[in-house]
């Protein structure tokens, strides 16, 4: 990954050193991450304050949301791929983390697809490999397969059977099948049919409601905490995560 990043940086450097005529056709790409609940934008000001109702009817508040996006790749009309970012730990409480990559210069052309990984794929999910993520205590315990968290969604909920707020820790990462046996749990998201040929902001949207909705209606009364080592819960998170992300283009 580091080597690829280096290659990208070198390419960017070479492009930026080109003549003024060439610069006119370079494309600036920025990637931002935004969050919503079935279309209603969620920002840091919603943390601990706004109530959301999930598919199963629980009323929940979000206290903390951090998640990992990696391997953002643009594909041009010839099928060439350009990786425009390695990884980003997004923290809803920290606006500085919501921009995945800013003003990345890519060669001129038409880009028809973008893909990214929610979490780390198997190749990149190397235990203790990333000092910034270690320092952020983003690791996934070795006993559960190691590597890193993909998401940490913490909050409280109430329901007709739990009228006092109870905590939930919707934490996602490698799924542990049994002692020493693990299953990859990342999600690759592909958005095709795009047409990017000029400076563009790419918005990777996360609809948090989907984590609780489809295909598995999530019952927080049953699945609320202690989910990291729960194989079935981890797999259901992966299944629900398939429809969580969408990509929008802006100016």
């Amino acid at each position: 990954m580091k080597m690829k990043l280096l290659i990208i940086i070198v390419i960017i450097g070479l492009v930026s050193c080109s003549s003024d005529d060439d610069k006119a056709s370079d494309i600036l790409i920025s990637v931002i991450n935004s969050q919503n609940w079935d279309g209603e934008n969620i920002t840091a000001s919603d943390l601990g304050t706004t109530e959301f109702i999930d598919e199963n009817g629980e009323i929940l508040k979000i206290e903390r949301l951090r998640y990992l996006i990696s391997k953002v790749i643009l594909t041009n009309s010839y099928g060439d791929e350009i990786e425009i970012g390695t990884y980003k730990l997004v923290d809803l409480a920290d606006n500085n983390t919501l921009n995945y990559a800013t003003n990345i210069v890519v060669p001129p052309g038409t880009y028809t697809g973008i893909s990214f990984v929610y979490g780390f794929n198997e190749e990149d999910n190397i235990d203790q490999a990333y000092p910034d993520l270690n320092t952020a205590s983003w690791n996934w315990p070795e006993m559960l397969g190691g590597g890193y968290h993909f998401m940490q969604l913490d909050g409280t909920f109430t329901s007709p059977t739990n009228i006092s707020p109870l905590p939930f820790n919707y934490h996602n990462g490698t799924a542990r099948i049994s002692d020493g046996v693990f299953e990859q749990n990342f999600i690759r998201v592909n958005a095709d049919g795009l047409s990017i040929d000029s400076n563009t902001n790419i918005d990777i949207k996360m609809n948090l409601a989907e984590w609780f909705k489809d295909p598995n209606t999530w019952d927080l009364n049953v699945l609320n905490t202690g989910l990291m080592g729960n194989y079935d819960a981890q797999r259901e998170m992966n299944e629900n995560g398939q429809l969580v992300f969408s990509v929008y283009l802006g100016d």
Partner: protein, 355 residues
């Protein structure tokens, strides 16, 4: 044109220099000694660009750390509440200032502060740099109860300090900014990264016991200790996230902690997660030192959690009052936590009183 500008700027800098404020002076640079495990796992230490580590700066900072002249009546130094044998905290629940006034929080232990990337110091995070942190106690009326102008004048009037500041910063004119820069440089050298558990993580399988290993597994088990979300891990050997949490101590708050700084009621009851290193020397525990022993701390998380509106959702067993650890698990967890202590840190001669 550019060259002409450089000449102009250089000329301007030269014309501003003087024997008392020699901008050309450079003290002797010195690197932070980064423990092997930190080097393997963590980001490099954060050293402010306007306060690089120097031999002379660290030497001066150490002398100032132990200097009672910083206090209003010349009787109390930083080190009087941050004792080396206690990993630079106070064994008293609340420290006593020069007037006899008693504080309301337990003094924080001091080590590994160059790895506080959140740059929020004190239990409530009110200081945004180590230099800013050092400004506070001198003028705090229940601590050193001095004024900075008076403290600076006192140091300036001594025979030794003007020359030491000249050696450290190229000027003999003492300011509060330079005092705190020097103290911060010294504090950044106070590094603890060689406990028995560090040695284990570096490959010495005999460094810890089976009980301590089991305790570590409890620490890392989300369904038992689940300590790692806030207190680091084998991957984050700072053993803290340097972030603020309400860990279920009280149902209401006499001391609102972070909320008193941000003004946000949602931050009430939140205090910075302390590092778990050197717990053998840092009793009493919690921001207000309410627990005299490590057993009391573990019992709190096992059976003593109290609900309040801002309690962290990571206190997942709040409905049951805690994680309900077995007595055997408690003993192993305690053994593991104590394996993070480093006797060589508290006795390090580089950190002792030079005066």
């Amino acid at each position: 044109m550019k060259c002409f500008s450089i000449v102009l700027i250089t000329g301007f800098l030269i014309s501003c220099s003087s024997s008392d404020n020699d901008l050309g002076y450079q003290a002797t640079p010195i690197d932070i000694e980064v423990p092997q495990l930190f080097s393997n796992l963590l980001l490099p230490p954060a050293i402010p660009s306007d306060n690089p580590q120097t031999i002379e700066g660290v030497t001066l900072g150490r002398k100032l750390f132990y200097e009672p002249l910083l206090s209003g009546d010349g009787t109390q130094a930083c080190a009087d509440c941050h004792l080396s044998e206690n990993s630079f905290t106070d064994s008293a629940r609340f420290s006593i200032g020069i007037t006899g006034a008693i504080g309301t929080r337990n003094a924080m232990p001091l080590y590994n502060m160059a790895w506080n990337f959140e740059k929020k110091f004190f239990w409530d995070g009110r200081a945004t740099s180590l230099e800013a942190q050092a400004l506070d106690p001198v003028e705090n009326v229940i601590e050193m109860n001095n004024t900075w102008p008076n403290a600076v004048a006192t140091l300036q009037a001594t025979s030794a300090y003007p020359e030491l500041f000249s050696q450290a910063f190229g000027t003999s004119i003492i300011t509060k900014e330079l005092v705190t820069k020097a103290i911060a440089q010294f504090e950044r050298t106070m590094i603890s990264g060689n406990s028995r558990f560090d040695q284990y993580l570096l490959g010495d399988q005999n460094a810890i016991t089976a009980s301590e290993i089991n305790g570590f597994n409890i620490f890392m088990d989300e369904e038992r200790g689940d300590c790692f979300h806030c207190h680091g891990s084998n991957s984050n050997p700072l053993w803290t996230d340097n972030i603020f949490h309400n860990n279920g101590l009280d149902s209401s708050f006499d001391d609102v902690g972070l909320g008193g700084i941000t003004g946000d009621p949602l931050d009430n009851g939140k205090f910075k997660s302390p590092s778990l290193r050197n717990l053998a020397y840092t009793a009493p525990y919690m921001h207000d030192g309410r627990f005299e022993t490590l057993d009391e701390v573990i019992n709190h998380y096992s059976e003593g959690l109290v609900y309040s509106e801002t309690i962290d959702p990571l206190m997942k067993y709040i409905a049951e009052g805690g994680a309900q650890l077995t007595e055997a698990d408690k003993a192993d967890l305690k053994a593991f936590l104590l394996s993070l202590s480093e006797p060589g840190f508290t006795s390090n001669p580089d950190f002792q009183n030079p005066n």
